[in-house]
């Protein structure tokens, strides 16, 4: 009906956005502040003796607060893993890459980490690995302080030593 100086509008950006002020709480703040110092901080349950990393501040088995802080070493074992070959939106790592469950030495729970410096067909359960940290100036209270894990070259751990954590 009317002339227009503009190309007709055919699409409309309609982002849906939620802005959070996220707080990890007291217990996980302790873990994150440890990462800023290139250390893994966990907590031990005073009843069962298990060490949780990161700790949620209580033992899920015994229901008691965990107050005993434990600094864990840089090394651990791959309990299980997944080779990622599928691209997806927002992917920040070049495929293929290895996503591994890592049980730090002295810990009683594993967490997920990126494994590098090994071809994807050579990864195996029980492999000994160590954390590679970012440069000291780049350390922050976040998991991005851990660049990745890599094999140490030590002999593989016996299956019986980590089978509880699969």
């Amino acid at each position: 009906m009317t002339e227009t100086a503009h190309e007709p509008v055919t699409t409309l950006a309609t982002p849906i956005r939620l802005d959070f002020d996220f707080t990890p709480g007291v217990a996980q703040s302790r873990f994150l502040k440890g990462l800023a110092k290139a250390t893994f901080m966990g907590q031990r349950c005073s009843v069962c003796g298990k060490v949780y990393v990161p700790s949620r501040g209580s033992c899920p088995t015994d229901g008691v607060p965990t107050t005993d802080d434990v600094e864990l070493p840089n090394t651990g074992v791959v309990t299980t893993y997944c080779v990622v070959n599928v691209p997806f939106a927002g992917q920040s790592i070049e495929i293929p890459y290895i996503c591994a469950q890592i049980l730090l030495d002295g810990a009683n729970i594993s967490f997920m980490g990126l494994l590098q410096e090994i071809p994807t067909d050579q990864i195996r359960m029980g492999m000994r690995v160590e954390a590679v940290w970012v440069d000291e100036a780049e350390l922050t209270p976040s998991l991005s302080s851990v660049r990745y894990f890599r094999p140490t070259g030590e002999p593989d751990a016996e299956y019986d030593t980590y089978k509880e954590y699969l």
Binding site: M1, T2, H6, L12, A13, L18, D19, D21, T23, K33
Partner: protein, 154 residues
Amino acid sequence: MADNEVLHADHRLEYPYSRSTGPVIGAFLTGLLDGRLLGVEGSNGSVIVPPTEYDPITSEDTGEMVEVGPGGVVETWAFVAHPRPKHPLDRPFAWALIKLDGATTSLLHVVEVDSADGITTGDRVTVRFRLPGERIGAMSDIECFVPESGGEGR
């Protein structure tokens, strides 16, 4: 970073959807770029704003686009004394259903008034568009509606 300090971080969760407008809403949004308000002819002489592809009562196809406004009448309203960060204005305003001149349906938008005493049902208001260079082909190209009297004389 004290040992007992609890950390905080901003975290944004966002889904960047892009929608297809279709020919009718597309024409309405193109009109906004031009600083014009467009409705569509519906059944039985109605003029629907914002326009739809089908008459919501008879389900018949709608007809030609027609220009409406720029003035209109407040049919009902709700005053917002303390705007939230994502509200269209950063100062007090009223949400309002506005029946534009020439339309038979009403449009939800905001009226710039600084108190609830500044607006009432039946008030005349008129559109204020953003400057041409700031328009993007979206509902926000209408900055707000303002009292036709300039907010005085009531």
